[in-house]
């Protein structure tokens, strides 16, 4: 057991916190007795509930599993669940509540980038530890956050590369369709620079944004059809988020856009999202992730078995962010065991270099940039709502969270 004086660590951090803030700082300090507290910061109501509820269940499943194995460091785990209700400012309040009132040792949470941006200052101020399990646009690296989802070079760029390959249909015109917020706009900015570097002119790129929950896709889908009638093979890259995907795919099907003619690849559509769609007209459309439920291998078999026996509903599927939560949790447990404490600074150091045989079938490693190395997989939508994997990388790829395709990052790379 390592006992440290609370404030010496504070001083080490060099935080310029005034006396007023001092009482607020205490909760972030690790306690080395009693149960280890695991915060769960996922929306259980509002528009994001559809996606985030499954992640709450995943964390609870992992806590239960770890306790069955005797906990960590001989201490039991205790989950603290709060509901930020898809309300971005409320995320920050709930994060503060977790850290200060419930004194959690680690938090698993957030889905949208805007919610992550909202809690970031709280975790940095109180020196908390957040595991963020969703693919995102990059351009961020906080010492208080471990990103277990994909950065753009682990999802978006390989997916577009695939569309341009022979197997993917040699696309030379790309329609970038997205929901109007930070993730699609940043991703498309990176993709546009990438496409330009591959010799695709701006005239061959169509960029369209729609509001959250957009349901009338007639105009945009017909515009894509017109865009595709220019004598070059065309493909759609979709950063459409949330349940707007359902009417989008329905319109694609109704307007008779077949995957053989205009394939689409999505970055936010997984098994969970397909559960609400009749997938027959969509067979052949693609999604890029770092994990699919249909991956074969012992690690995924164990993960699926664990999920099935926890959730007790044969219809519930596993998906990429759940896998990222699972992998992140395993890594955190290993790091705590190695550090022999739940103290944030010690766990952070222990996290670097942790390896987990992930359900994706690859050994994923946490690097000093707080991001995981991950394999990239392209899956085709099947009639049963699952994905058939048509392409995957040979190895797990390291994350470039600062994309080289954003000019401002050139200086950052020099600065180190």
């Amino acid at each position: 057991m390592i006992h440290r004086h609370p404030f010496s660590r504070r001083a080490l951090l060099g935080g310029a916190a005034g006396a007023l803030a001092l009482p607020a700082l205490r909760p972030a300090l690790a306690q080395n007795s009693g149960p280890i507290r695991v915060g769960v910061l996922h929306s259980l109501s509002g528009t994001m509930a559809i996606s985030e509820t499954a992640l709450r269940d995943t964390v609870l499943m992992m806590v239960e599993d770890q306790n069955r194995k005797g906990g960590i460091l001989g201490r039991k785990l205790e989950a603290v669940v709060v509901d930020p209700a898809s309300n971005w400012p409320l995320f920050a309040e709930k994060a503060r509540e977790l850290l200060q009132v419930h004194k959690v040792d680690v938090t698993f949470g957030c889905w949208t980038s805007v919610s992550r941006k909202s809690v970031l200052p709280v975790f940095e101020e109180l020196n908390g530890l957040l595991f963020y399990p969703v693919q995102y646009e990059g351009e961020e690296q906080s010492r208080n956050v471990f990103y277990t989802g994909a950065a753009p070079n682990q999802q978006a760029i390989p997916a577009v590369d695939y569309l341009m390959s022979d197997d993917g249909g040699s696309a030379r015109r790309i329609a970038l369709l997205g929901t109007d917020y930070v993730y699609p706009r940043t991703t498309n900015r990176i993709l546009r620079a990438f496409l330009n570097s591959k010799g695709i002119a701006d005239a061959d790129i169509l960029e369209e944004y729609t509001p959250f929950g957009h349901s009338d896709w007639q105009g945009i889908v017909s515009r894509v059809k017109t865009f595709a009638s220019q004598g070059k093979k065309t493909a759609i890259v979709s950063t459409i988020n949330g349940d707007a995907n359902v009417p989008f795919y329905r319109e694609l099907g109704n307007q008779g856009i077949k995957a053989e003619d205009i394939p689409s690849v999505a970055f936010s559509v997984g098994e969970e999202e397909l559960a609400g769609i009749d997938t027959k007209p969509l067979v052949g459309h693609l999604a890029a992730w770092n994990y699919f439920m249909s991956v074969e291998g012992p690690a995924n078999a164990e993960f699926k078995q664990m999920w099935a026996s926890y959730i007790k509903n044969p219809k519930r599927v596993t998906n990429d962010p759940m896998e990222a939560t699972y992998t992140g949790f395993r890594m955190w447990a290993q790091a705590v065991t190695q550090a022999r404490t739940t103290a944030v600074d010690a766990v952070r150091t222990a996290m670097y270099g942790q390896k987990v045989a992930a359900p994706s079938g690859y050994t994923e490693q946490m690097w000093e940039n707080h991001h995981l190395s991950k394999p990239v997989m392209i899956g085709e939508i099947q009639e049963d709502g699952q994905f058939s994997i048509v392409h995957k990388t040979a190895d797990a790829i390291r994350a470039e969270n600062w994309s080289p395709f954003i000019p401002e990052n050139a200086n950052r790379a020099k600065a180190g």
């Binding site: 559809i50 249909g169 929950g213 007639q218 009638s229 220019q230 003619d261 559960a275 052949g284 048509v390």
Partner: protein, 520 residues
């Protein structure tokens, strides 16, 4: 000599199928290989023209082709599995996976094999497949098929496919012929093919440019017509969503924030009916028509409970009504979330609502949208008729115009209030049935429509159903006209700003009520 020739010809005739069988069997094995091998095999099977390849290729496209560990191909048909080549029963194996490249190759190969199929639908599909996978090798095949073809629709498609194939022929005269036929088609695909050909044939640039100009002229008319249709479609959805509110808010003056949840309940009723009918095959296609009255009854019942239980105590207090109905809306949302889960529920579209319908002039409209436009007009007609021509409608109008005098005439005003609110709620429920076909069935379904609904009712003129209709269609079409150059986000903002300015000028909306009713 002649005898010898005959014998040799006979021998050749006998030998040819033998060799073909040999090749078919060796070739077919390639279908279980990697994607590259599959593409090659499919193309060669298509070129071979052996009819036995047809079931194999169809099965491959439909995910019914399986393979054993040793590579033997198996064919699954209606739950039973047989060995693909030998035809003997076998145990199920692993499904053979394909990708889009294989699918595209399949379309061409199936096109070649099915060009003279007995069913018209299959020939039509074959012609389309050959149009997309054009190749000079297909020219003789298409010419033969055209000579035998009688159905005009299939002939037209075959001619297009032939023109597309001629476009890549070695002979320049054939290419010119192809350009000419494609220029008359007016389709976006033909335009794309011509543009591709232009890059390959600099010598033919002039006729190709003329053909593209001809196609563009037709495409423009077509696109204008389609934009209007899209506007009507969006308008019909706005109309459906707003119609119930036009009665509860427009006629009764209740600020009903739970209106969206009534729409949502209607959509969930559709899900329930569909799930109830799933087990009974002959009932299943009727689930959507049956859902319409079911949704009306369910939401009307909820409406009666809401009006009798809560709203009637708050008449004349709009702020309290607003807050209370807002709360009821949230309770309903959360209740549905608890009962059905946070996930979206899948509503299957019946076959007659899927795909597109081709109107004269190559204008294509999506079936589901067309049905919804018709449905919205029918619901509007029924609502107007109920208010105009029934005893209930008469009593309702009487109560709205002068509650006291209506009461002295013996009308039970409380009962009329409840029924009017139920009527409005029921219409919202029917809107939910239609919306389940175009939007997500989730507990949040209603929240997306409540603002649009109020917008339409206020814009059209409170209390006027005709105003609601005109308002809805105007907003729909304006939105769709703005969308191409402003983008979906800006178009929506522009429409909202437009309405704000309009309401400044005409606070009572498009169709302001005149006379005594207006002073209420």
């Amino acid at each position: 000599m002649r005898v010898l020739c005959l014998v040799m010809a006979l021998f050749l005739l006998l030998a040819a199928p033998l060799r073909a069988q040999d090749r078919f069997e060796t070739l077919a094995a390639g279908l279980s290989g990697g994607f590259g091998a599959q593409v090659e095999t499919v193309e060669r099977l298509g070129a071979l023209g052996d009819a036995r390849a047809l079931p194999l290729l169809q099965a491959l496209g439909e995910g019914r082709l399986q393979k054993r560990a040793d590579g033997t191909l198996l064919l699954e048909q209606d739950g039973t599995v047989v060995e693909a080549v030998a035809g003997t029963p076998a145990a199920p194996g692993e499904t053979v996976r394909i990708n889009n490249r294989v699918r595209a190759a399949l379309r061409g190969a199936l096109g070649r094999l099915q060009l003279v199929a007995p069913q018209e639908g299959a020939r039509l599909q074959a012609a389309d497949g050959l149009f997309r996978s054009r190749s000079a090798d297909n020219i003789p095949l298409l010419e033969q098929a055209l000579a035998r073809e009688a159905a005009p629709l299939v002939r037209a498609r075959m001619e297009l496919a032939l023109a597309a194939s001629r476009l890549v022929a070695a002979d320049e005269a054939a290419r010119r012929q192809g350009i000419e036929i494609l220029s008359g088609s007016g389709s976006a695909e033909a335009r794309s093919l011509l543009l591709e050909a232009r890059a390959a044939n600099p010598a033919l640039a002039a006729p190709i440019d003329a053909a593209i100009a001809a196609i563009d002229a037709r495409l423009q008319i077509r696109q204008a017509a389609e934009t209007v249709f899209q506007g009507l479609s969006l308008g019909s959805i706005l109309l459906l969503a707003a119609l119930g509110l036009a009665i509860t808010f427009g006629v009764m003056g209740i600020i009903n924030m739970a209106h969206g949840e009534m729409v949502m309940l209607g959509a969930y009723t559709t899900v329930m009916v569909q799930e109830g009918f799933r087990g009974v095959p002959w009932l299943a296609p009727w689930s959507l028509p049956v859902s319409v009255p079911a949704a009306f009854l369910v939401t009307a019942a909820v409406g009666v409970a809401l009006e009798r239980g809560l709203i009637r105590h708050l008449y004349g207090r709009p702020l309290e009504t607003l807050l209370m109905t807002f709360g009821v809306g949230m309770i309903l949302q959360q209740a549905v979330r608890l009962l059905f889960g946070a996930q979206n529920r899948e509503v299957v579209s019946p076959a007659w609502m899927q795909g597109t319908l081709a109107l004269p002039g190559d204008i294509t409209v999506t079936q589901n949208r067309l049905w919804i436009i018709l449905f919205a007009l029918v619901v509007l007609g029924l609502a107007v008729a109920a208010i105009r021509f029934t005893r209930f409608g008469l009593e309702m109008r009487a109560v709205v115009q002068n509650r006291r005098i209506a009461a002295t005439m013996g009308i039970r005003t409380g009962r009329v209030d409840a029924m009017t609110f139920a009527f409005g709620s029921g219409i919202a429920g029917m809107a939910g049935v239609a919306l389940s076909q175009v939007d997500n069935v989730s507990p949040n379904l209603g929240t997306g429509y409540i603002i649009d609904s109020f917008m339409v009712v206020v814009f059209g003129g409170v209390g006027s159903l005709a105003g609601t209709m005109i308002g809805a269609f105007t907003l729909g079409i304006v939105n769709k006209l703005l969308e191409p150059w402003a983008g979906a986000v800006l178009a929506k903002i522009a429409v909202l700003v437009g309405i704000m300015l309009f309401i400044q000028r005409r606070p009572k909306g498009l169709f302001a009520l005149k006379g005594r009713a207006a002073e209420q």
